[in-house]
């Protein structure tokens, strides 16, 4: 195995742990610090996410069709993501961010940053 992969694995494990902690924390009060959005069957799931300023959202494409993530207001824009590719964006400013897939614009979602 390539030793260079270990930090990635550790990072993934920490992210998972962070996710679990965030989920637990959310149950009490606050929105999660990081969020994952899956793209499958031409839908963003979940299609509405609330996060704290400074948090990162990661989209991952699980379809055989490429998808993009494009902010309506031009704040962020991914390249075309092929199957299993991801795109992340860190939201520093509070606000409501609507986004679509530019290839299939009926796919819509919203990020609320508190």
């Amino acid at each position: 195995m390539n030793p260079a992969k270990y930090p990635k694995l550790r990072a993934a494990a920490s992210l998972t742990l962070l996710g679990l902690l965030a989920t637990a924390y959310q149950a009490y009060a606050a929105p999660p610090a990081a969020a994952q959005i899956e793209i499958k069957n031409f839908m963003f799931t979940p299609n509405a996410v609330t996060i704290k300023a400074g948090s990162t959202v990661t989209w991952s494409n699980k379809d055989d069709e490429p998808h993009t993530v494009v902010s309506d207001a031009g704040v962020f824009r991914s390249a075309a993501m092929d199957t299993d590719e991801t795109f992340s964006f860190t939201f520093d400013k509070p606000g409501t961010y609507h986004f679509t897939c530019s290839i299939h614009p009926r796919m819509i979602g919203t990020i609320t940053v508190e």
Partner: protein, 313 residues
């Protein structure tokens, strides 16, 4: 209907099949698309050009870069399509590509597509982009290669053999539901382009997404296409060609004939069949029957065009 007529129809159908797999010829007469078997159409009747001399061939949805199960070899099926065109007894004057040249707008995909398309014996190539060609924010990759004809606007027109061709772009902005949009600038340009043109001029309009609503939930249409059709209605022969949906769908409305082409890359589901318009995996022996190109000939110059779809098998 008598058995004789049925039998005759079947014979005609078989003649059609013999031409190019699932090829069918349609003759446009007075604005009505009539299927005609090719043996009949090939006879040198007065006023009829031989359909063996096509005006142009439409290639669509080559999706170079796609490599999933629905077709792991899109370069191979494009090459097969090019072979079919190159094998035509008389070469078309020009080739039209109705978009989704690439799958992900990547430079290497565009380079490979251009290299493959350069294998066509007919070298005059006119293109419009699909939404897969324009996923980079500034559409740099497409316009760097194909933007010259339109001064990087995406829409332009030209004339050939008395036919006026209009290339339109409807993949840069989308209506909230997902339908394509032409936009007011482009519609105003079309009005200016058609102004003063004789209504007897045959018109061919081509764009990537259908210029009529085939299935709104999947965005298979163009939201402001009605404003375009209003400008085209006075012409005696209008042929509207699109790609995007990877299957043949036709409609005739007055003198306007709408036709969507097969892809050379992979088929897509019938409208509304499944969660979305993604690649459709079919049995390997079925795939070539669902891929192909369309050719358009001048049948009764200058007022009639004939359209032929040819599958890979």
């Amino acid at each position: 209907m008598s058995d004789d007529i049925l039998l005759q129809s079947r014979r005609k159908a078989l003649k059609c099949m013999a031409y190019g797999g699932a090829g069918t010829l349609f003759v446009l007469t007075g604005g009505v698309f009539t299927p005609v078997d090719l043996a009949l159409a090939a006879n040198d009747k007065p006023g009829l050009a031989r359909p063996g001399k096509p005006l142009f061939v439409q290639i669509s949805d080559t999706h170079i870069g796609f490599n999933k199960d629905a077709n792991p070899d899109v370069s191979g099926t494009l090459k097969q399509s090019i072979d079919i065109v190159n094998a035509m007894p008389e070469q078309p004057a020009l080739i039209i590509h109705t978009g989704d040249i690439t799958h992900l707008s990547k430079p290497a995909e565009f380079d490979l597509a251009q290299q493959l398309l350069s294998g066509l014996r007919t070298t005059e190539l006119h293109t419009v982009p699909g939404e897969h060609d324009t996923t980079d924010a500034s559409v740099t990759e497409y316009f760097n290669r194909f933007g010259k004809a339109s001064d990087n606007k995406g829409y332009y027109s030209f004339d050939h053999a008395g036919v006026h061709f209009i290339a339109l772009i409807n993949v840069l902005q989308f209506k909230p539901g997902g339908l394509g949009t032409l936009g007011s600038d482009q519609l105003a340009w079309v009005a200016a382009d058609l102004k003063g043109r004789s209504s007897s001029t045959p018109i061919v309009v081509f764009a990537h997404m259908p210029l009529w609503t085939i299935y709104e939930p999947w965005g298979w249409g163009t939201g402001d296409a009605d404003q375009l059709m209003a400008q085209l209605r006075r012409f005696g022969s209008v042929t509207v060609l699109n790609g995007h949906i990877h299957q043949i769908v036709q409609k005739v409305e007055g003198n306007i004939t709408f036709h969507t082409a097969r892809a050379t890359a992979y088929p897509q589901p019938l409208p509304g069949d499944g969660p979305g318009p993604g690649p459709l995996k079919v049995a390997a022996d079925q795939l070539p029957k669902m891929l192909g190109v369309s050719s358009v000939s001048v049948v009764k110059h200058p007022s009639a065009l004939a359209l032929t779809d040819t599958a890979l098998a």
